[in-house]
Amino acid sequence: MGTSETIAEGKERYKSGVIPYKKMGYWEPDYQPKDTDIICLFRIVPQPGVDPEEAAAAVAGESSTATWTVVWTDRLTACELYRAKAYRVDPVPNTGGDTEQHYFAYIAYDLDLFEPGSIANLTASIIGNVFGFKALRSLRLEDMRIPVAYMKTFQGPATGIVVERERLDKFGRPLLGATTKPKLGLSGRNYGRVVYEALKGGLDFVKDDENINSQPFMHWRDRFLYCMEAVNRASAATGEVKGHYMNVTAATMEDMYERAEFAKELGSVIVMIDLIVGYTAIQSMSRWARKNDMVLHLHRAGHGTYTRQKTHGVSFRVIAKWMRMAGVDHIHAGTVVGKLEGDPNMIAGIYDTLREPVTEQNLQHGVFFDQDWASLNKVMPVASGGIHAGQMHQLLHYLGEDVILQFGGGTIGHPMGIAAGATANRVALETMVQARNEGVDIWNEGPKVLNKAAKWCQPLQAALDTWKDITFNYESTDTPDFVPVETPSA
């Protein structure tokens, strides 16, 4: 690795003009990150002719104290502490040659650069200016290591997996949900019908979609009132706690609080917001949810605009990390087998980020750092989008049991009706969990397990018949850079 080219503090360093970031103190290859440092891993693609170490130093500089030219006012501060330090630059495996050369740049930031408990402040630095930087062709924030000292300043999930399960009295199996369809156009009365049928049939939750707010065809109060009638009717019909994610996303915080308060008054166990409301609003709603015994569901609306392409943006792993810190209880995190983006390795990394007390480094899963979550609650991942009962063994295999499986079309599009669709999913789920616990190899025997249950459960048979050949086999765009290489045995 290179050596430091930093110009020593003094008159020479602060002569007016422009000097390379590397010489300003933002490239320190000998730097040993402290336990309290925030560490970022960026994927950098420099413009042709730009030295990768200089590019990394520029990112460190622009995301901490630097501007494009030397300023004497640095000398009024403990500037060496506040400078972020790029300390390692590695070429990304399988890039370069005929293709663009990518680099992984490791940058350390001192704890005092950030306001306690504020995702807004953290992100204003880390992704504030640098992504538009001309010297870079593209830039992606791949992962972050948050020190325990900083982690502890965040509330974290309002409820968490453990308490959510205790409140719902549901253990030992994934939860089941569905999004009401069609997404738009149903009146409140018709909408509640879908909710009632699905919950009575066996789902635990039904959900508003991300763009159901308060439109001319259904204003929010109508939706809330009819949905709570449906939830309570279904609860009486089954003896189970049931819920409907009331989407309180709105134009202002005042509107969101008003809607959330009404959901609470009506006895809802859960409210929902969209990622597009912004980090500060998410933290506010998380605080509200903690104060009001409410589970907080987050739909990741909009994330695909910056998470999907490998070369530029922010990895969803990082968004998941920020959302656990910001304090949501549920987040859509991929299905592997459904209609939306999701490489199995990357999804495993994201699920670990949401659920583990300590997420360990796993390059194949795209996890670059050990992350101690400092007792922040676990977030329940939500798998939604193009999944059906016939995939139950794959879903359980990939995603485990602490997950919400949402079958929207797979419930509402069932040939025998919505309640039958819900029953098909619930029977498929319970029979698969039972088989797994009994030691059955569900990865291979899964279809057999489902067919056996379908012999006594006609709705399941109908579901298997309807969707038997539906798969979404497209190549993922967000894939791991590190793949295990088989070592030949001696």
Binding site: D169, K170, G172, L225, N232, S235, A237, T238, G239, K378
Partner: protein, 139 residues
């Protein structure tokens, strides 16, 4: 109606052999199994009566099944559930819960609506069985 609390209520009632398989799974994970019973199956009735304490030190599935069956014998018309407790850090909560006995007739729940201002309704769930005193239900 059929109350569908617990993780296997949509399946046919579990046989002794199937219950034993689930107990083995709990033991394999190091969880402590507990047997609980009630005649008030309201979904918010968290604290069912305990059939003794969680069997922290009993690692023999047959021994645990024996306790399950003793409880069912003593309370044939009650709901009986098997719960597995995980004491490991970051969980410290039940990890399994499934019903192994239920009354022959399950009358279910009535929904009481209290109309309030505007269209606001307050809902209360009332188990029909609990209209009788404890111990005299499901007969």
């Amino acid at each position: 109606m059929r109350i569908t609390q617990g993780q296997f209520s949509f399946l046919p009632d579990l046989t002794d052999e199937q219950i034993t398989a689930q107990i083995k799974y709990a033991l394999k994970n190091g969880w402590a199994v507990n047997v609980e019973f009630t005649d008030d199956p309201h979904p918010r009735n968290t604290y069912w009566e305990m059939w003794g304490m969680p069997m922290f030190d009993l690692r023999d599935p047959a021994g645990i099944l024996y306790e399950v069956n003793e409880c069912r014998k003593a309370f044939p018309d009650h709901y009986v559930r098997v719960t597995a407790f995980d004491s490991s850090r970051s969980w410290e909560t039940p990890r399994m819960s499934f019903i192994v006995n239920r009354p022959k007739e399950e009358p279910g729940f009535g929904l009481i609506r209290q109309e309030q201002n505007g269209r606001h309704v307050s809902y209360t769930l009332r188990s029909y069985a609990t209209q009788k005193p404890e111990g005299e239900r499901y007969r």
